[in-house]
Amino acid sequence: MKKFLAISAAAGFFAFFAAVFLALGADWYRNKRAPDQPIAFSHKIHVGKVGLKCETCHKYTHQSTFAGIPSVQKCMSCHAQVATDRPEVQKLSGYWERQEPIPWNRVHRIRIREHVFFSHKRHMKADVDPKLECANCHGEVQYVDKLRRVSSLEMGWCVSCHVSKGASTDCLTCHR
């Protein structure tokens, strides 16, 4: 009886941790992995192969707090003629014909954004050497098809970069 109880207790203990690891995996799958997008847009093709600059589509990077997501019209300015036989481009055409925006899933998001003020413009125009590039935070997107968040975007990560670049670490620099 004691032997049975001991093995049952051990089974419960190990089963608990197996369940915890599976739960961590489920949380990663639901909240932390690279999200699937309504259209399998490839940065590898557009940036890596075609050679488009980031600002071609994300045109507010130097002008605004937000980098901006290109409109369907912007996409169609090329894809009305280019690669129209591809299934993903046909999905794009569908959005255009229905005059609907594409419901992209957000990849980069500051976790508690209500308390943080972040400006793309400030960072792109920062007087640091070497100059900041999009890849510093977003990774080398020209090599990947499916975009994922490569930087944690957590405070420690921001502060370590501010320290290494000699930028202000005053609380009010980011928290308003």
Partner: protein
């Protein structure tokens, strides 16, 4: 890293895949062995220390037997403890080509420290006496060896686990920032627990089932070994999932994937089965369970090793994708250069054609007499104005005339075949006409 960046090449996808399999196997051999060495040295030193407080002949005997088990000779230490670090360094060098990670600097440091530790542990083992009566000096050497070994393994853990955090690679230039990381610390504690557990399972395997060694005939000593092995391994098995949890939650998200969590779950299931086997060993005194426990623990180490590599694959996905693109560009460049060389070489040279004909073809052919093959002036007129057909035939001959044996492929480069064909057709045009035949 400079060395690799200067002399290395960007790896292709399939090459990198092969390297990863090799790395997992190398790590399995090395980590298993180092776990056994670390665990055995820890237990041996504790037994030595206890032996002085409480006189027990089993303590001194087991302390020595343990060291005989893991460092039986210098060759074993060299093959399992030191040599695997060399391919490991080369594989990481290829994987991390052009990265700024400090791994390529840390790995040789770790290798040096581990090699020194193993030498000191070999000395510790050599100073142990068969009667189990070991002195303080012996204990001091063993402790020094263990401390150096633990330092070496921490550096090794740092050099690999820190790769999971590519966003901080550029911030890790100072040793303090590099070495202090909760992720590394949890991995290291996991290794220490695994080391004691591996040694416990290893004792049950090597002491009772290793050919030429077991079984232990002294029943009291055998019971002592079994109880100690299972009694040490079981608490460590209980703690390993707890520490594994802390390791998982401190690992950067960028290094995670569903498979990593799946493997972690798999290790917990294996640990439970090992726990049951060890529990049965304690109760039933059946040593055969030790074989199952040890082999399953090797399975745990394999799953952990694969999980670690998956972490690294995920963390370095962008870095690797960039290198693969570089490799593809380099391969395309080489192909272009070869094509250009071939184009230059493919320029028809009739003089060269004559030279090749006289050295290669005249073994079987003459222009105006039958030899092994037909007289060429009876055959070649059929190819007049069809040089491409003649070139195709010379590249890949087929039997055409039943009166002659089939012609073997001469195995000439395309440029030589073109030159020979031009020479032959020019020669035939000059000398007359005939039937299209061949072999």
């Amino acid at each position: 890293m400079e060395f690799f960046n200067q002399f290395g090449l960007p790896p292709s996808e399939s090459y990198l895949e092969l390297m990863r399999y090799l790395l997992v196997m190398t790590l399995l051999i090395h980590v298993t062995y180092m776990s056994l060495v670390a665990g055995s040295t820890i237990i041996s030193l504790i037994l030595n220390s206890r032996d002085r407080d409480v006189r027990n002949t089993h303590f001194g005997r087991l302390a020595k037997d343990l060291m005989d088990m893991v460092v039986p000779s210098r060759v074993v230490v060299l093959v399992f403890g030191i040599l695997p670090l060399v391919p490991m360094w080369l594989i990481y060098g290829q994987w991390l080509y052009k990265s700024i990670a400090s791994t390529m600097f840390l790995l040789p440091v770790a290798a040096g420290v581990i090699a020194l530790a193993l030498v000191v542990i070999l000395i510790y083992r050599a100073t142990m006496r068969d009667d189990g009566d070991n002195s303080m000096a012996n204990f001091g050497i063993g402790s020094a060896g263990l401390m150096i070994l633990l330092a070496g393994m921490y550096i090794l853990a740092t050099s690999t686990v820190r790769l999971n955090d590519p966003e901080r690679w550029h911030l890790m230039q100072s040793p303090g920032r590099l070495m202090v990381s909760f992720n590394v610390i949890w991995k290291y504690v996991y290794f220490l627990l695994g080391a004691v557990c591996a040694t416990g399972c290893g004792m049950l395997f090597f002491f009772f089932h290793w050919p030429g060694r077991g079984p232990v005939t002294d029943a009291r000593y055998a019971r002592f070994v079994k109880n100690l092995a299972a009694g040490l391994a079981m608490p460590c098995l209980i703690l390993m999932p707890v520490i594994g949890f802390f390791y998982l939650v401190t690992t950067p998200i960028v290094a995670m994937s569903g498979a990593v969590y799946g493997l972690a779950t798999g290790t917990v299931i294996l640990m439970f089965i090992i726990f049951v086997y060890l529990f049965q060993t304690l109760l039933a005194e059946r040593s055969s369970y030790g074989v199952h426990a040890f082999l399953l623990f090797l399975g745990v180490l394999l799953l952990v090793g694969v999980g670690d590599q998956l972490n690294l694959v995920n963390a370095t996905a962008e870095h690797t994708a960039a290198r693969i693109v570089e490799a593809e560009e380099a391969a395309a460049q080489i192909a272009l250069e070869r094509e250009a060389e071939r184009a230059v070489a493919a320029v028809v040279d009739v003089a060269r054609g004559r030279e090749v004909f006289e050295t290669v073809c005249t073994t079987c052919h003459r222009m105006d007499e039958r030899l092994v093959g037909p007289a060429l002036n009876t055959v070649l007129p059929g190819y007049a104005g069809r040089i491409d057909d003649l070139i195709s035939y010379l590249q890949k001959p087929s039997k055409k005339n039943p009166d002659f044996p089939p012609m073997p492929a001469p195995g000439l480069p395309l440029s030589d075949v073109k030159s020979v064909a031009s020479y032959l057709l020019g020669e035939t045009t000059d000398s007359g006409t005939g039937e299209n035949g061949g072999h």
